[in-house]
């Protein structure tokens, strides 16, 4: 919801979900543990958003550079460049690229609530999590006006800001003292589809289960994600 509001994502109607066309820059995937007895199976949640791969499969296939890698390490989508071949969407293992099949519809009362810093995407283009690049730009600018280095907490994407349990953490991986750098160094850290070699900028921490004996192994789908990613060049 925070993401929808921050990034001018149109309201997904029921039909959008039915047709598998809903646009949700971050979605919570729900999986059930394998169990015969329904009562014993429990849901596992996996937040899924653009992984901002360092070596992204979507980037080289775009014929017009509508998606490319920024010097900050973001995987950016340039809406006005996009022509809608949708190849990037095919080539994304995480299925986190969304296509605007229709023009976005906002309730009348909503139109004045749109974020002026984010383009409203029209029909026919791809979009995806931008890691709230408008917030990053603003944070960088403000730090520059103050003449200081960026610190943890200067920039926070909408999802990380809203999450009540701090399950999503954002920060500068280049800074060894940042919270994310320390968490990435943890044993629990893993990449989703790491074997593809895409170097995701977003990694997950495996869940530490309290019933330690049964589930001491890392479970891929039982994960508390944290999203560090961004090694940031402050002069930007």
């Amino acid at each position: 919801m925070a993401c929808q509001a921050e990034n001018n994502i149109p309201i997904n109607e029921e039909s959008a979900f039915r047709e598998n066309r809903a646009i949700e820059w971050i979605r919570i995937e729900r999986y059930w543990t394998d169990s015969e007895d329904f009562a014993e199976s429990s849901p596992q949640y996996l937040p899924m958003t653009c992984q901002h791969c360092g070596n992204a499969p979507c980037e080289p296939v775009c014929p017009v550079y509508a998606t490319y890698h920024t010097p900050d390490g973001l995987n950016a989508q340039i809406y006005n460049r996009c022509i809608g071949t949708r190849y990037c969407g095919n080539n994304c293992p995480w299925n986190v690229r969304y296509f605007n099949y229709h023009d976005p519809k906002f309730e009348d009362t909503f139109t004045n609530h749109l974020n002026p810093d984010v383009t409203v995407r029209s029909r026919g283009i791809m979009e995806k999590c931008s890691m709230c690049v408008q917030r990053i730009r603003r944070g960088v600018r403000e730090a520059r006006y103050d003449g200081r280095e960026l610190q943890d907490g200067d920039i926070m994407p909408a999802c990380a800001q809203t999450c009540p349990t701090n399950a999503i953490i954002f920060g500068d991986l280049n800074n060894p003292d940042s919270q994310v750098s320390q968490m990435v160094a943890s044993d629990r850290n893993y990449e989703l589809f790491g074997e593809l070699g895409t170097a995701p900028g977003l990694t997950y921490l495996a869940k530490v289960d309290v019933d330690a004996e049964e589930h001491s192994e890392e479970e891929e789908h039982a994960a508390v994600p944290q999203s560090p990613v961004i090694w940031m060049t402050v002069n930007g």
């Binding site: 070596n55 080289p60 074997e195 593809l196 070699g197």
Partner: protein, 461 residues
Amino acid sequence: MAEHAHAGHVAPEITARQTIEDATRRVVSTGAKFATLDIALGVLGAIGLIALVLNLIIEGTGNREAWGYTAIVAGYLMSSVLSAPILAVLLRLTRSDWRRPLSRIAEIQAAAGIVVYILYLPLFFAIPEAEGRFTVWVEWPWGAPGFFSAVVLGLLVFGGYALLYISAIPDFAIVRDRSHDNLPRFERYSRLARGWYGNLRQWSVHRAGLGVLGGAYLILYIWTVSLFFWDFGLSLVPSWRSSVFPGFAAMSSLQTGLALIIVTMYALQRWGGLQDYLTWDYFWSISKLLLTTSLLWFYLWFSEFMIYWYGRKPDEINVLELVMFDVYGLPMLLTFLLNFALPLFILMWNRVRKTIGGPTLVACLVLVGTFIDRLRIFGAAWGVENPFAHEMEADNIPDFLVPSVLDILIVIGSLAAAAFCVRMALRIVPLPSIWEVSGGIGLRVRRQYLNHPVTVIAKPE
């Protein structure tokens, strides 16, 4: 079909009688012209056999690396001697006229099939089971991969001999009929000719038999090469799953088969007294095929390379490192030059194709290139420590497979043995194929077309 005789070249008029004389001379004559060569080849072949047995005793079948070079030379011989008859089959199917003096040369290579089979036997025991490793056999319960390969390879070797034999029956009959002065030979060839009199029914059965057998051989060959290269090459390398690879192997084998034929043609027209039969236009025709296969070689190779290189998955990059860039980088480069780049740049000139030396040179290059290529493929595969892992790790890329002394002896011995088999077959089977060549002579007339004298070649349906 008629062919416009080229200006400045007058095809030597050969009569059917002359063909019979030429083809049977080698079979009839008792004095061996190249006895020393034959003996040397035989001795080398025997040494190779001994080395093979020694290797079996010393290394056993447990150590796969020790059998790498056996796999290499088996794959190489399979690609060359067993693929050569394909040309005869193909040209017969398309009813090309220029096959006539060539088809026997192609078929006679299959005489060395037995060497491939002998080399295969230890591999049968050395190859790990299919279950648990990545292979086309997908958890097949038993017999895969060794047993099935043994069966199809056996069929193929047998098919090669059958093709050679059936195609030679009419010629055996001719030898038989000309051997009334020599009783043992007469009896031998009577048995071989199986009561051939050349009546219409025999001919139609012969034709149908050759057609069916040839088609079967072609399919069997593609299948066997695919299978052998799958099981003994590709699937031993973890995460090397290139679906075009069997196609590549088959294509590369055809290329090698052609090259082998060209080299044999050269030898026969230079030292074998067939200069009237194997004139430049046969080299010209076959070198076009060689050029085509070289281009296809590159195309299929590139199809594989492209996908791996662009896909950039780490396990694929590791495979590329192993078989193309790092460990077997130099063999890859040499193969690329010898099998594609040089053939292309030499054979793309029509004037080169119209010589005898040009195609022969390229054929030699291809023969060497393919050997290096087999070294790359099987060397990489048999040097892998753990084919049961499904992915290759970057720090686990095997080293170059260095041959031991026994390996070198096996390689040399097998090649010599193969050559020896062909030499022996040459003493029994008339060459060129009398019925095909003289049949061609019957379909040929000289005619005047506008202002040119042309040779008209009729094409029977």
